[in-house]
């Protein structure tokens, strides 16, 4: 494949960025969820 480096770099940025953001949201959510009672979580 021509330009394989550029193409893979693009997908690493896109997928890696998404995964990093998702991981951050989940981790932060769990950390906060432990400190709060269920009344403060209307989605449960």
């Amino acid at each position: 494949m021509d330009h394989a480096g550029f193409i893979f770099a693009s997908y690493i940025a896109a997928f890696g960025g998404s995964a990093g953001l998702a991981w951050y949201a989940i981790r932060r959510g769990r950390a906060l969820g432990r400190q709060l009672p269920d009344e403060d979580k209307p989605w449960i």
Binding site: M1, D2, H3, A4, F6, I7, A9, S10, Y11, A13, A14, F15, G17, S18, L21, A22, A25, I26, R28, G29, R30, A31, L32, G33, R34, Q35, L36, P37, D38, E39, D40, K41, W43, I44
Partner: protein, 307 residues
């Protein structure tokens, strides 16, 4: 059991001040720590709810819907990678570099969608009849993922441009506007972090988001006018992609997959932000109860000595 512990906390606060207690509250992460917080720091008035907090097993921000959505998103992204990198053919004109566009178009679409949502949610917050901090949190969550995807877009776009045009950057109206949008929303996130009450943060950032809506068309228009004077605005137009069905499908798939990712993130993040706000309020409640205890004790003491 609860009540004596609470009084103890109150006495402690009387000598030590309550800021120390609030900091420990912030730093607790582990399970045993939160249990500790619940028993020793709970004032008598809030003991019931805190008891449940210690026993809460349901951590996290997931629901059945977001879990299903999350799995589907991962699947869609995997299929996207398969089609984009393996199954779809190279473009007649552009060759392999067209593969970058499958990721590029999806993220740029999400970035613009995110900023539209931020603007609409900000408007909804400022409009009295729909005003709610939930709108503010949606606006913030949306801007966060928008800024990240905008950065990814600029990165993938400049790689694609290097292959296609031989340069990482062109002063095309679309590209320039996108870059300005990126900087503007970085500024928006900085304004969200300024502090103050939740309402202050919400109103300030909502006004900034609406001002950004004012700014962006102006930037776009002036850059376009500028490039048209210089007569070289047509770089972007010269490399049109001839899409066959497979490529069109991959492009659509990319857009759908990243949009699902966006929805998933905003749902989760909005809940995280709600919990951050709630935790702030909880800290204040604790502080208030301690303060009241402190006040009552101080009064008992002075009355005891004078009588």
């Amino acid at each position: 059991m609860q009540s004596p512990a609470g009084t103890e906390a109150g006495t402690e606060a009387g000598t030590d001040g309550r800021t120390g207690n609030r900091t420990t509250d912030r730093h607790t992460n582990g399970n045993e720590d939160s249990a500790h917080v619940a028993t020793t720091q709970t004032p008598p008035t809030a003991s019931g709810s805190a008891h449940r907090a210690a026993g809460s097993a349901r951590a996290g921000t997931g629901t059945r819907f977001t879990r299903v959505l999350g799995v589907l998103t991962i699947a869609a992204l995997a299929v996207l990678a398969l089609f984009a990198l393996v199954l779809s053919p190279p473009d007649v004109v552009q060759g392999e570099s067209v593969r970058i566009l499958y990721a590029h178009v999806g993220t740029v679409w999400v970035a613009y969608l995110a900023f539209i949502v931020t603007a609409v949610a900000s408007g909804a917050y400022l409009w009295k009849r729909t005003s709610s901090l939930t709108w503010d949190r949606i606006a913030g969550a949306s801007a966060e993922i928008g800024v990240l995807f905008m950065a990814i877009t600029l990165f993938t776009g400049s790689l694609w441009g290097r292959i296609t045009w031989g340069t990482f950057w062109v002063w095309d109206a679309r590209v320039t506007t996108t870059a300005f949008l990126f900087v503007t929303y970085v500024g928006y996130l900085a304004v969200r972090g300024l502090g103050g009450t939740h309402e202050q943060r919400a109103r300030r950032s909502a006004v900034v988001a609406l001002l950004a809506v004012l700014e962006i068309p102006l930037v776009h228009f002036s850059v376009r006018l500028w490039r048209s004077v210089h007569q070289d605005a047509s770089v972007a137009g010269s490399t049109d992609v001839k899409l066959d069905d497979e490529m069109l499908f991959t492009l659509l798939l990319g857009t759908v997959a990243f949009t699902m990712m966006y929805v998933w993130y905003v749902l989760h993040r909005q809940r995280v932000l709600a919990m951050e706000d709630a935790l702030d309020d909880k800290g204040l409640d604790l502080a208030l109860a301690e303060r009241r205890n402190e006040g009552l004790e101080a009064r008992d003491m002075t009355e005891g000595t004078t009588r």
